[in-house]
């Protein structure tokens, strides 16, 4: 079976692509609008997270459907579901590649925790945080996406940005912590004792 990352690359190559600048500008204008409407940084972040969650669900569904098609019915997702939580880092990286074109790295911290690191971030092209908004996690949408994607894989997680290039770090890093496995009726994860 092909690795998740090679699947990500193949799917990226097959996707219709568009200038990342359009994406970045739209996101930026949207954040600007949220600032006008919601004012408070935490509210803005909540909204970005919520939107990201919604997008993440659609992304992973699309990814699983297309990766199944790629490999003639052998679903990458199904194969990985029965393994460890930390294997989901591979799926996440592949999805990020498919939709954002970015190559991410992952570092496993424990059985229930890993980080995803990105150097390129299409959300932040041309962006500088204004001084009075230095607290804002601009790329919170990505965290929401991760949360949504993993929820569809039956994992309830928290995801937060631990490093941000907009705040001066070299890279962008998200920390993903497993809160609980969501039971899906009598799925592989659930054992009747």
């Amino acid at each position: 079976m092909a690795s998740a990352s090679s699947v990500g690359n193949v799917l990226w190559h097959k996707q219709s692509k568009v200038n990342a600048e359009l994406f970045a500008l739209t996101y930026g204008a949207m954040v600007g609008e949220l600032m006008r409407d919601l004012e408070k940084t935490d509210k803005i972040q909540e909204e970005l997270d919520r939107m990201g969650h919604s997008i993440g669900i659609r992304c992973i569904e699309e990814f699983l459907a297309k990766s199944a098609a790629e490999h003639q019915g052998v679903s990458v997702g199904a194969a990985l579901k029965s393994q460890m939580f930390t294997d989901t880092s591979e799926l996440l990286k592949a999805s990020l590649k498919m939709f954002l074109g970015v190559t991410a790295e992952s570092t496993i911290k424990s059985d229930t925790s890993y980080t995803i690191t990105l150097v390129d971030n299409p959300l932040t092209i041309f962006v500088e945080l204004p001084e009075d908004r230095s607290e804002l996690e601009y790329s919170q949408l990505l965290c929401g996406m991760v949360r949504g994607m993993l929820e569809m894989l039956q994992y309830d997680v928290t995801c937060k940005m631990t490093q941000s290039q907009l705040k001066g770090s070299e890279v962008n890093e998200m920390l993903i912590d497993l809160k609980q496995v969501l039971q899906e009726g009598a799925g592989e994860d659930y054992h009747d004792e």
Binding site: N19, E21, T26, I55
Partner: protein, 210 residues
């Protein structure tokens, strides 16, 4: 901190569409119909709470909310269109046609700006040019896109899809207005949804130069 070189950075089209659909939803949800206010303002004795008067106010409140949502989306589109065109037009030289009277010169300049929008800007956003451009050479332009990419995945024939499509079209209206504004052409932009039962993705944008 070094900002990435962006000229060749791409994202998947689907990602843009997902973001836009969240944007449309946000615009809709953040502009709540002001039913309570409307009925309170309209009648002092509570008569407006009953029957058809209240229904009319509800309709009005819904219409106003929809207009506010469209204005929000249009504003966001304007910001995007303006900045995108700023970069695209950087290296463009504009042809000054000599020996023309004022009106003809203005008209020619407007046409060149609109053509730039229809070709370079539209291609940057949608990967294709505007399908049809018409003008009366007196400040009115009609741009037709017979297959607007963002609408091409909408299911045909459902009312919900039609309503969502119309909501979404406020964004490209703003894009056009913002783009032209950057090119020095202030205008009012409106849109007609040309969809019949089959084709959900045809639309025409009407530009009136101010």
């Amino acid at each position: 901190m070094v900002l990435a070189v962006t000229n060749d950075m791409k994202v998947s089209e689907q990602m843009v569409e997902f973001l836009l659909s969240e944007l449309v939803l946000y615009a809709k949800d953040s502009c709540i119909p002001n039913n309570n206010k409307a009925s309170a303002a309209a009648g002092s004795s509570g008569e407006s709470q009953e029957g058809s008067a209240s229904a009319v106010e509800d309709e009005e409140a819904l219409t106003i909310a929809a207009e506010q949502a469209a204005a929000k989306l249009e504003r966001i589109g304007f910001a995007v269109g303006f900045r995108l065109t700023e970069r695209l037009a950087q290296n463009k030289t504009w042809n000054a046609v000599p020996n023309q009277d004022m009106a003809a010169a203005v008209s020619a300049q407007q046409l060149e700006a609109v053509k730039f929008l229809c070709k370079e800007v539209w291609t940057d956003i949608f990967g294709k040019q505007i399908d049809k451009l018409q003008t009366n050479h007196r400040g009115v332009f009609v741009l037709k896109d017979l297959n607007l990419k963002w609408l091409s995945r909408f299911p045909s024939g459902t009312e919900h899809a039609r309503v969502t499509a119309i909501r979404l079209l406020a964004f490209p209206c703003g894009l056009i207005r913002g783009s032209l504004s950057n090119l020095g052409i202030p205008a009012v932009v409106s849109c007609d949804f040309l969809a019949d039962g089959q084709n959900m993705a045809a639309c025409s944008f009407n530009i009136k130069v101010k």
